[in-house]
Amino acid sequence: MNGESLVLSDVTKSYDTAGRRRMVLHGIDLAVRPGEIVVLLGANGSGKSTTLKIASGMISPSSGEIRIGDTPISGLKGEMRRQSRMALGMVFQSPRLVGRRAVLSNVLCGTLGRHQDLASMAGILPRSERGLAMDCLEQVGLADLAAQRASTLSGGQAQRVAIARALAQRPAVILADEPVASLDPDAAEEVMVLLRRVAREQNLAILCVLHQIDLARRHATRLAGLKAGRLAFDLPPADVTDEALAGLYARETMREAA
């Protein structure tokens, strides 16, 4: 499925709280093309995480459409939804690995969606999947730790294993929700360099939420600024002014969103 764009068309999201309708997203239009990293920026409550959750299918939009290439993925149920999830690799703030299992076993979890037979439940997967998982570990530079227990890894290494697990899905798109939030600056830089490299080499579309503006400027293909649920800008980093960024984090943004 590699080489297809993630497209969000006129996506809105509202919640009914105590009889009042609260709009969280107002008609978001965003496209992430293969090989691109689009970084979502914005203050807390601006709608970044909601956008990412809608793109991943964790929550449904109130209106609008999400597509990978020409295939709509919003509103799917059951088996169709499970299959669409294979095309979307997720990287979270914490690596979400099973600490007691080996690094390679954690990466193999990314391939489970392709195998629904009983053997896969016992951990018996085709040899080719093992090879793929090792390739993914090779790409993140951790092939030599394949047999090590995941709980023994450093934060940066664990996050790279999480990226390898997402790559093992053979996705078209990777969604990364603050993937460097719990890492030190060096590890954060490593993870962002890695994401940029896999986007380019594997022609993946990556949508990433970040709070570190300098990292976003250095590694993003485009910066998408969200302000109170509206897309304030969607530009290459060089075209985004400091004033535009400061505007995203101005105090009234928080009040409006609330």
Binding site: S56, G57, M58, R82, Q83, R85, M86, L88, G89, M90, F92, S94, R96, L97, V98, G99, R100, R101, S105, C109, G110, L112, G113, R114, Q116, S120, M121, A122, G123, A162, R165, A166, Q169
Partner: protein, 270 residues
């Protein structure tokens, strides 16, 4: 330069309640004291009786010494039986506890009636003491080790079912969410997420339970469920105190050995 005023520290710090708290505290203490006094009277706690009976206790201890070592070869079989009752009862109980723990945990079962039914079964198994189960099974299947195994199985299933369900509800569900989002189905998530995360702690609990069951299986013998307990009951009933002291020593050695082994294994697991 202006002098700074600092408050002198009190000579003795005193723990003090606010006025209303003080009344509640002393009131509560008085109620507790009254409860204790009435409970002691109801249960006929009497130091005088204890003192007058001390002579008889000393006499029993004297008659129990030294242990009758000649009986040792004859008592190996019941000792093995006690160990085996605990082993089989714990293993079967642990097996039965697995589905019960899964079905009664909110993390795995989202269908409330199923969860509530499983919790009711677990509650019943835990609420009835193993001794009562043993009495029921001795009546149902007759004297011997089998009713002991059955009673330990049910009680262990109840205890491990409850503890297992709590462990499942307390575990970190984020790796499982990540698998679900990657397209894994529920059985795969269970096999590759839940099992590896829970197995070591669950095995530790089973070892702890085995240690407890070994002690329980001794008491179960008193109601006819076989093992060393049955021998001990017979020896005391026939005033064979030297045999009884030998049986108690064998029990002590077995309990200490299993306790040590289980503690080492649990430490290794954690």
């Amino acid at each position: 330069m202006p002098r700074t005023m600092t408050a002198a520290p009190p000579e003795r710090a005193r723990f003090a309640f606010p006025r209303s708290g003080r009344f509640l505290f002393w009131g509560g203490m008085a109620v507790l004291a009254l409860l204790l006094v009435q409970a002691a009277r109801e249960t006929q706690v009497s130091p005088a009786n204890l003192l007058s009976g001390a002579g008889r206790i000393v006499d029993i201890v004297r008659r129990a010494c030294p242990p009758d070592w000649h009986q040792l070869p004859r008592e190996w079989k019941p000792a093995r039986e006690t160990f085996n009752i605990a082993l089989v009862g714990t293993a079967l109980g642990a097996l039965l506890a697995c589905p019960l723990a899964l079905l009664s945990s909110r993390t795995i079962v989202r269908h409330a009636p199923v969860r509530m039914a499983a919790r009711c079964v677990v509650g019943l198994l835990r609420a009835v003491p193993d001794l009562v189960w043993a009495l029921i099974f001795v009546t149902a299947v007759g004297l011997g080790p089998f009713p002991g195994v059955l009673s330990l199985t049910l009680h262990t299933a109840g205890m491990l079912g409850r503890l297992g369900a709590e462990m499942i509800e307390d575990m970190d569900v984020m790796p499982m969410e990540a698998m679900e989002l990657a397209g894994a189905n529920r059985l795969q998530i269970f096999a590759h997420g839940v099992v590896p995360m829970l197995a070591p702690s669950m095995f530790g609990l089973v070892l702890y339970r085995f240690d407890e069951n070994l002690r329980s299986s001794l008491v179960l013998g008193f109601v006819g469920a076989g093992g060393l307990g049955f021998q001990l009951y017979t020896a005391i009933s026939l005033f064979q105190y030297r045999t009884a002291s030998l049986l108690l020593l064998m029990t002590l050695v077995m309990v200490i050995a299993v306790e040590g082994l289980s503690s080492v294994m649990r430490r290794h697991l954690s």
